[in-house]
């Protein structure tokens, strides 16, 4: 796998390969890059931010309260597209618990007044 390290502005071009069950990172300029490359290879994760529709119209911006596996992002976005929020929402409110089975709670990042 080829990727770009985002740990600092250097942006080292990383190559991550698995040989004999061992993950090897090359191209990194420092140890942080090796750690980042290995994590991106074995279990890449992202905090996902998106919008949920409110049943009374309009949208509510949300985020996952922790990073979720990259492989789950598609499933999460499909869930988000079909979900409808109801009632007044305040920033920080938990709107859904673990919708795609990876332990992340969906949290409102803005207020919604009915």
């Amino acid at each position: 796998m080829d990727t770009t390290c985002i740990m600092c502005p250097m942006g080292c071009a990383l190559r991550v390969e698995e040989t004999d069950g061992k993950v090897v990172v090359t191209g990194n300029g420092c140890p942080r890059g090796a750690k980042y490359g290995e994590a991106e290879f074995l279990h890449p994760e992202r905090v996902v931010t998106t919008l949920l529709k409110h049943e009374r119209g309009g949208v509510v911006s949300v985020k996952t309260d922790r990073p979720i596996p990259k492989s789950k992002i598609g499933e999460f976005l499909s869930w988000a597209a079909s979900y409808r929020v109801s009632g007044a929402v305040a920033t920080g409110d938990a709107l859904a618990e673990d919708p795609v089975g990876c332990g992340a709670t969906v949290v409102a990042t803005a207020d919604y007044e009915e």
């Binding site: 770009t4 985002i6 502005p9 998106t50 949208v59 990042t109 803005a110």
Partner: protein
């Protein structure tokens, strides 16, 4: 006429931080915002990554804005004027604004902080060739329509420009079910952050072509497609290699312009490089008592730096209004050898340190930043990498100032 110590024009991140900093100095503050709520563009930036420097944690735009807004609204010493469009500002600091609820408002201020932010370069600004169909948006406009109003502006998208807003919108449109076919960047590098290239484009397999631009658009009522071509010498497109991409939407992320229309005809000295005012280290312009901070002063890449800069301006504006800002001769700060501009452009000698912010003109690896004063080197700093999209700074000791200051790079 209402009287305040400090009037802040613009209620985005810069305006809110300036107002709060002025309050900490005991000043009475008027905060004027043309939208119906405080927060500015942060309200539409629903992605995360804000606040790592300022708050030490990762916040989304609305969350970052809320931290300041809650404090502003809880402070009885700040009078907030919403839906207030400032029409004029005089040199003796009379601010005239129009609002649907308060009518014509006149404010006499001891000091003024300009915090109007910037606007996006449009299709006209880049002389986009072809027809004039619907479906051509600036990236920030599409962002507002999507994230605030809840409208998806198109289904098949080409993005011109790889600035951060363009990259963020590539991911956003994809998340909402649109297909982003290409991001075209005229330069051989992106002005966006590395993290955004990785997490907004690569994560979603969205192609980015450097040294490529949109040469013309087609479509009568709605956009039907765009032609793209690689550029050569002098950024001229090679029309023999034009390629047609069918799409219904073109997003433009082609630069920001500080919104300084209020200063047209004023004596505030402007910089031709930043399109903002020329300021000293207090962010005071050439007209005493008028300060400037945030994107209206120069375009920032991190809101954290905007907040930081606006705090300086707000505190100094309060000092000025209370007669406590020391004046005196200033030295000029200029840029050379790879440095496009340095800010502040003027400094006072004295005690303590001052941060000189600057941007380089292209990507440099392993360069040394050199600051001279009166022809003598007063600071050197080795850098690993510097890119035009990432604002740099160097801290210098004001006691070392012996004459005009220059910031440059050397091998």
């Amino acid at each position: 006429m209402e009287r305040f110590d400090v009037a802040v024009i613009g209620g985005g991140p810069a305006g809110m931080a300036a107002a709060l900093a002025a309050r900490e100095k005991g000043a009475t503050v008027a905060l004027l915002e043309r939208d119906d709520r405080l927060g500015g563009i942060l309200n539409q930036c629903i992605h995360n990554g804000f606040g790592l420097h300022y708050f030490g944690e990762e916040l989304t735009g609305p969350e970052y804005a809320k931290r300041f807004r809650d404090k502003v609204l809880a402070d009885a010493g700040i009078t907030v004027f919403l839906e207030a469009m400032v029409l004029s500002l005089t040199e003796d600091r009379v601010v005239t604004a129009l609002s649907p609820t308060k009518g014509l408002v006149e404010i006499e201020a001891g000091a003024v902080v300009l915090a109007m932010g910037c606007r996006e370069r449009s299709a006209g600004a880049i002389a986009l060739a072809g027809t004039r169909p619907a479906g051509i948006y600036t990236a920030g406009m599409a962002q507002r329509l999507c994230n605030v109003e809840g409208y998806l502006v198109g289904k098949e998208v080409v993005i011109l420009g790889s600035g951060d807003i363009g990259l963020i919108m590539a991911r956003r449109m994809t998340s909402e079910g649109a297909k982003v076919k290409l991001v075209a960047e005229i330069m051989p590098f992106s002005s966006g952050l590395k993290r955004n290239i990785v997490q907004c484009l690569n994560d979603y397999d969205i192609p980015l072509r450097y040294s490529t631009t949109v040469t013309r658009v087609t479509g009568k009522n709605r956009l039907t497609g765009v032609y793209v071509a690689p550029v050569g010498e002098g950024l001229r497109p090679d029309l023999s290699r034009e390629e047609y991409i069918p799409c219904d939407t073109l997003l433009l992320s082609v630069g920001l312009i500080p919104e300084n229309d209020l200063l047209t005809g004023s004596r505030v000295e402007m910089s031709r490089v930043t399109s903002g005012a020329v300021v000293d280290e207090y962010r005071q312009t050439s007209v005493p008592g008028i300060f400037s901070a945030g994107n209206v002063l120069h375009v920032h890449d991190l809101v954290d730096n905007v907040s930081e800069e606006a705090r300086i301006a707000g505190a100094a504006a309060a000092d000025y209004a209370q007669g406590a800002l020391s004046a005196g001769e200033t030295l000029s700060v200029t840029a050379a050898d790879g440095v496009r501009y340095a800010l502040p452009q003027r400094v006072h000698a004295g005690e303590g340190t001052v941060r000189l912010y600057f941007r380089v003109d292209k990507v440099y690896r392993g360069r040394t930043v050199v600051v001279t004063s009166g022809g003598e080197v007063i600071k050197r700093k080795k850098t690993l990498v510097m890119a035009p999209g990432e604002m740099q700074y160097i801290e210098v000791d004001r006691a070392l100032f012996k004459g005009d200051v220059s910031v440059r790079t050397e091998e």
